[in-house]
Symmetry: C2
């Protein structure tokens, strides 16, 4: 019996002893009935404490490898062989559903996937997905960049890159952030495989099951899904015209001890709302006083069609409470899957370790392409171009709403971003409206997906970035028709049993 | 006081009541001292069970929002405002380290990152990283494919794609798998952001903290890291010439109830070993009888330099126990981050939900590039080309070992893959050898990283795919010199206190 102890190992010594004896028993090196040395003797020879050997023997006993009888010492027990004797015992394939983890069971049916599928059907006018119009993609510029990359034999595009990102891209993003009023070194930037991964990495780095996350309500549904999947408990703060309500937030911070405050303060998804300057100051002040990190999600900040710029929370963050997340998906292409997080170096280091688990690093070719695009100054031009177009589309949607919407439908007029947030009559049953809209070949996202409890049934999100103005006009016409017909049918049929709304004294 | 109950919501009714009353209290709609209706009355009006209202009130009491006194009924308590009065209370920046999750604390220092960094330094001959030689990249073919993609206005390369992958690529992979003897429909394939993500998605879908995973020892260290990070307990099965030992495996299956068996059966990383046919049959039989999924990791299977092909476990899997994972990283580029998983449809669906959390989908441009490469039949050609070259490199390394290695160093001669697994004298201290090698500008991976307890200190992994034969020759010369010098220094100095190896009667 030979046992090797490595005192520099991170594995406790008793476990080293346990695993080596276990292996010797299983391999037959120590046969049934073999008498192990007394604890004291083994401890002496290995130069370890007697309690260490005691612990090892206890583990082996608990697992049924060895037994002790008074007078006989400690002996190796017979190794139990398989108690299932034949192949025929199981006829079924593996019971996969029973094998999945609890984590997996928290991952819900993929709303987003369905949305992406709907949007890709040619005959449907989709206001559902939140994506840029592919006809606006700057493909000519990208063509040139790709040729330069390959012909310049820039192998970085095909090689591994550091987990935190292709360094030149981190520099370019750092420059771009400076133009947005945020002074972050390249080392304070983590390139992620899209903003989705940014959310997931934050959730894994900060949240344990049972932790509390404060979110504004309504909120981006993918964020809600990810926080839920981590086992966190979500608590919502309602919004008013100035954004997340600070008075309610403060009461919640006092009462709960949240691990994170999640907000999308500029051209919010879904509401289009912008948090005002005073509210931003209040939020930062609260986060600082209660020592709670804020995750600022900012995919739409650059997509402003009127009014003056407002600084991001990160740009106003003097205490380093803000984790800033953004992406190229809304301003460029969703398919290249590149986003970024800005935070202090120790946070980036920890987030990098989580990201490394997930995919080692973001795609190198995609990182090289965006880097070149930024270095050539093309992004600013491109944003100017799309903002001009999206302004027309927003106006087209608003005009069509004004023309076709029945009296009991209302909406906001967002200054930027991708969405109009629309209130429909309370009595309307969501599933009926969805079906009616599908018949008329128009799609939208029902608002309940953006609420924690999915209670609010009378709102819908309409995207205006994907289709040109003519199609927006036609789509709104179809949708409003669908709303009117649904209301009419409901009036005719039995009244809603779905929503129970009663005033109480 | 108005309360809306949605009986179709997935949120329990008592929680709907709780959150709405909480919001009304925090917003001041229900002021301090406001008397809530008696439980029975509220239950009647809302048409819910009395116990539902009781539960809601109990939650609100527990959180200190309401209180009950005999004779007074249930009243709203004063809302506790912030008990921290001034900005000056905290002077420090956020205590980030205290804010990280337990999960995050299980993510260890990134060995792989360091390896990638070492390999990228020009003056070092690195046998450390397991990557293909960039000089063998088929860049001309890729250049043509990229031009075709852009000029053909294939916007799929820049748009969102389904989480499971770009469908044409799933078809191409399905075809390729057929050539490998695996009949899997495109729907049984999930495109991942590299094999790393495949491992992580499997871990998240199957493992809860405390679950047991069986691994062969030694094993691919990233897999060990990922399983550990999920909180699983790892149990190792030693290998012999035929692969993972089936007798020991069976005993472990009987005794523990593992959730997963992880194996890399063909040209294993790090040992280069190939599991033989008989052992493959035994492993499949055991997995089937004990109903444990096998994760077969197969990045190197196509990189065979001599001998006959051996079928993958998946190709021999009649019962559907095997989750098959592979990647383009070793046969093409690591930087495009594309791998794939093959499993039955319900498993792919669940894995897709996990993947969606992580990054929505793998990069579209990279998927389109690989799809075209496969459709043009270029992959087979490319593999033939690199296999010819890697054979030369393996031979160069073996010859150099034969020429320069001291007597007490031994090694295997792998038939494929990327690695030679080398045994050095037991007494050698790892850190000294690493330092000595660094001085001589040669790098390797110490073998302990491939063991669960990191106990085994006398093995090292040498990659032979990255450098041309001349550099391999020179690198081996330097490394063997480093080994001899380290041994000499240790003989001269005090003998090792590090490893304690004693025979016991």
């Amino acid at each position: 019996m030979i046992i090797n102890i490595d005192r520099n190992s991170s594995s406790p010594i008793y476990l080293q002893i346990t695993s080596q004896i276990r292996e010797m028993i299983l391999s037959g090196t120590l046969p049934e009935g073999y008498k192990l040395p007394p604890e004291r003797k083994l401890a002496e020879v290995l130069e370890v404490n007697r309690s260490t050997v005691l612990n090892a023997y206890r583990e082996l006993k608990a697992d049924g490898f060895i037994g002790a009888h008074i007078g006989q010492g400690t002996v190796v027990l017979p190794v139990v062989k398989n108690n299932i004797q034949s192949n025929d015992h199981f006829q079924e394939p593996l019971q996969w559903r029973q094998l999945f983890s609890q984590n997996a069971s928290r991952m819900r049916e993929p709303l987003l996937r369905d949305l992406m599928e709907l949007a890709s059907r040619d005959d449907v006018i989709s206001f559902a997905a939140g994506i840029a119009d592919p006809n606006l993609y700057p493909l000519e510029e990208i063509d040139i960049i790709q040729q330069e990359l390959i012909r310049g034999s820039n192998k970085a595009a095909f090689l591994h890159n550091p987990t935190e990102g292709y360094y030149p891209l981190r520099e370019s993003i750092s420059q771009m952030m400076r133009a947005r009023g945020v002074f972050a070194s390249p080392e304070e930037i983590l390139v992620t495989s899209g903003a989705q991964q940014g959310l997931d990495v934050i959730a894994r780095a900060f949240l344990d099951p049972g932790d509390i996350v404060i979110v504004e309500e309504p909120a981006f549904f993918c964020a809600l899904q990810i926080f839920r999947a981590s086992g966190a408990r979500l608590i919502g703060v309602p919004m008013d015209d100035a954004g997340m309500r600070a008075d309610i937030l403060e009461s919640l911070l006092t009462r709960y001890k949240p691990k994170l405050i999640y907000t999308l303060p500029t051209f919010q998804n879904p509401s289009g709302a912008v948090m005002d300057l005073e509210r931003r100051r209040q939020l930062l002040d609260l986060a600082w006083r209660y020592q709670i990190p804020i995750l600022e999600d900012d995919p739409y900040g650059e997509l402003r069609y009127e009014g003056n710029k407002i600084p991001s929370l990160k740009a106003m963050d003097h205490h380093g409470c803000v984790l800033y997340l953004s992406t190229f998906s809304k301003i460029m292409f969703p398919g290249l899957r590149i986003g970024w997080l800005t935070a202090s170096k120790p946070v980036i280091r920890q987030l990098g370790m989580v990201k490394q688990m997930e995919d080692l690093h973001a795609g190198s070719l995609a990182q090289c392409i965006y880097d070149e695009f930024l270095r050539k100054g093309l992004l600013e031009q491109h944003i100017k171009k799309v903002n001009k177009e999206y302004l027309l589309r927003r106006n087209a949607m608003i005009s069509a709403m004004e023309r076709f919407a029945p009296d009991n439908v209302s909406w906001n007029k967002p200054l930027g971003g991708f969405y109009i947030w629309c209130t429909v009559p309370e009595t309307m049953i969501k599933s009926r409206l969805l079906m009616k809209a599908a018949e008329k070949k128009v799609a939208f996202v029902p608002g309940d997906a953006f609420y924690i409890d999915e209670q609010v049934q009378n709102q819908i999100r309409l995207n205006f970035s994907y289709h040109p103005p003519e199609l927006i006009h036609e789509g709104v016409r179809r949708l409003m028709e669908a709303i009117e017909e649904t209301l009419l049918e409901e009036k005719r049929g039995s009244s809603s049993k779905n929503i129970n709304m009663k005033p109480i004294v």
